[in-house]
């Protein structure tokens, strides 16, 4: 198990390196210079030269890369090209917001999907099951931005239960969290249901009844525990997909998290912020990969212990 983690970690660092190079070069090669945005068209050429000097944009690209990475790893990726704010402070703030949203979405997802999925499998082919499946189909079929609009219209504009956008009170986080978790709930619901269904047909379940255990215990402790591996595997994939959705959801609701910042910085050609964020988010994805792989290994004791 330990060797596995080490291998994976080294591998991940390597991947991250490649990703950072690609992102860095990609962003720089883009047409449309940031200097265009920052300067006054009148005295362009002079200001541009000056600005480039100041921002270090006139050094050869590879050099720029190394300077950047050096600073990045030291924890100081520089300043935003647009408003001069230190990126680290921006990031710190934004990360907090994204984490809050993500955490709530994750809690919502599993708190709803697992119980519903277990019961749907237990009461297979009843009204409850069909209802849950319907919910799943809806969750997967409706694109998240559409859901967001519908929810905003219904609950924020028409009924004023929630604010439309912003980030001041706890009310601001509810709608975005629902939208973010919608698809995850739907997919997890189906995976939980299928996994539990499969486990219910296994021999050991009959043994559990023969032991005289209560049905409740059999279902929620034994069967659920054995149903976990596919759910954990899914979690890894979902985590990464959710990261992508965060971008859209945060933008719609103006939730100032990492996603919102990234989209903004791309729109405004704020290179330093964009590349830092891009690399950071890529790091996050790779890290989640690692966690998911490890989690999957753990969940299956046969792999963990090494079977005879």
């Amino acid at each position: 198990m330990l060797t596995f983690i080490v291998h994976r970690a080294i591998y991940s660092v390597f991947l991250l390196f490649i990703a950072s190079v690609v992102i860095f070069y990609g962003l720089r090669v883009a047409p449309g210079e940031v200097t265009d945005i920052l300067t006054n068209p009148a005295n362009r050429s002079f200001m541009v030269a000056n600005l480039e000097e100041k921002l270090g944009l006139n050094k050869p690209l590879p050099l720029q890369y190394f300077i950047f990475m050096g600073n990045f790893l030291k924890g100081d990726p520089g300043l935003s090209l647009i408003n001069g704010e230190p990126i680290m402070t921006m990031l710190g703030r934004a990360t907090g917001y994204t984490l809050k949203l993500g955490l709530l979405a994750a809690i919502l997802t599993y708190a709803i999907a697992i119980p519903l999925g277990v019961i749907a499998a237990w009461k297979r082919n009843t009204v409850f099951d069909y209802g849950a499946s319907l919910l799943a189909v809806l969750g997967m079929g409706v694109p998240n931005f559409l859901l967001a609009i519908i929810l905003i219209q219904e609950f924020a504009v028409k009924r004023h239960w929630f604010p439309v956008a912003g980030y001041d009170s706890w009310k601001h986080i509810i709608l975005p969290a629902i939208v973010l978790s919608a698809e995850a709930i739907a997919i997890n619901l189906r995976v939980v249901r299928a996994s539990v269904l499969e486990e219910l047909n296994r021999d050991y379940v009959r043994t559990l009844y023969a032991k005289g255990l209560q049905e409740r215990k059999i279902l929620w402790i034994h069967v659920l525990r054995n149903s976990l591996p596919p759910i954990i595997a899914l979690a890894g994939v979902m985590l990464r997909t959710l990261l992508g959705y965060t971008l859209i959801v945060e933008t719609i609701f103006r939730w100032p998290g990492l996603g919102y910042q990234l989209v903004n910085s791309v729109l405004k050609r704020d290179y330093t912020v964009a590349q830092t964020l891009a690399i950071l988010l890529t790091l996050a994805v790779i890290f989640f990969n690692l966690l998911a792989d490890i989690g999957q290994q753990w969940a299956d004791p046969r792999v963990r212990q090494g079977s005879k």
Binding site: Y11, G26, P143, G236, G244, I252, N289
Partner: protein, 321 residues
């Protein structure tokens, strides 16, 4: 004790549904059992699956027809007026009130914008699939068949790209190129190929061991030919299933990107963009949002259903859940 009869040469009265012994007429309460068993629903599953494919197929076909129509309109310059023409005196008309599906805030025909927008979404999906499937097939087959260092490098690449969030990559790519459909298509292709490659590689690994491959190899058939002629046709079923899912994914991603303004740029119509523009008018003229929204949802539903049906026919191993 004589010779036993080799087969029952004697007719025995067979009681088909009549029980041999009378069952008591006293109502017996059903004694609850301990464990669940197969139900009627389980046995119906295979039949339903094919209906799934049928339903999904028909719906997708419908959308495809719309997309072809839309493509014609988009490609022929002289037809652009259909979705571009503004009629500032006839804005925000409700569906049925003069025009077929109403007009938007600039008086443009919702009907034609929907057709064109659907075409954009579906063709984007097809373009992405064409590109990524080709790359995925090639790289996956090479990796699975040749193993060794090539395999390790390609596998590493696959692992890196496979689960990447599409939107994130798309946004980054938009940053590198400019906002527009091309950026979105390139971005999604860059990620999606890995999904195909992964499955292809796994399938090649198993197919490789089969006798007919062994035979071809011993006959001296060159590797590229083996891959092209023997391996690929065997994987087409799986590819088809994946394609339908991935097109759906692309449609959603493209719509999302257009919604936040980073996808297809005006004047090219896009369903996501239409939803975004229509937000302001949601209270009084909801169809501007509802129509494209429903189109997207239906298209995705059609593709997913088709994928599910195809999967049940071709390869139950690919179950998403």
């Amino acid at each position: 004790m004589g010779r036993s009869a080799r087969s029952p040469g004697v007719e025995i009265a067979m009681a088909s549904t009549n029980p041999t012994l009378p069952i008591s007429t006293v109502p017996i309460e059903e004694i609850p059992s301990g464990a669940p068993g197969r139900t009627f629903g389980d046995r119906m599953a295979p039949l339903v699956a094919n209906k799934l494919a049928l339903f999904g197929g028909v719906l997708t076909l419908g959308f495809f027809v719309v997309a072809v129509l839309g493509a014609v309109v988009l490609l022929r310059g002289d037809l652009h007026y259909l979705y571009l023409d503004q009629n500032l005196r006839g804005t925000l008309k409700h569906p049925g009130d003069g025009s077929l599906l109403g007009t938007d805030n600039l008086g443009r025909s919702m009907f034609w914008r929907l057709i064109a927008g659907t075409a954009v979404s579906l063709w984007a999906g097809i373009a992405v699939t064409a590109i990524s499937m080709t790359i995925g097939l090639i790289l996956g087959s090479v990796a699975g068949y040749t193993r060794g260092w090539t395999d390790r490098i390609i596998s590493a690449l696959i692992d890196l790209t496979w689960g990447f969030p599409l939107i994130l990559v798309a946004v980054i790519f938009v940053g590198m190129l400019e906002p527009g459909l091309t950026a979105v298509i390139v971005a999604i292709s860059v990620v999606n190929w890995a999904g195909y490659a992964r499955i292809v590689r796994a399938q090649v690994l198993t197919l490789k061991e089969r006798a007919f491959i062994e035979a071809a190899r011993s006959l001296g058939v060159p590797t590229w030919k083996i891959i092209l002629v023997h391996l690929v046709p065997n994987m087409l079923g799986t590819m088809l299933v994946m394609a339908s899912y991935y097109i759906a994914v692309t449609v959603i991603a493209e719509a999302g990107m257009s919604f936040i303004g980073l996808g297809a740029q005006p004047p090219t119509p896009s369903l996501g963009q239409m939803v975004s523009e229509g937000r302001k008018f949601l209270s009084k003229d909801p169809w501007i949002v509802a129509l494209p929204g429903v189109m997207i949802a239906l298209l995705v539903l059609a593709l997913n259903t088709l994928g599910d049906g195809l999967r049940d026919i071709f390869d139950p191993r690919l179950r998403r859940w």
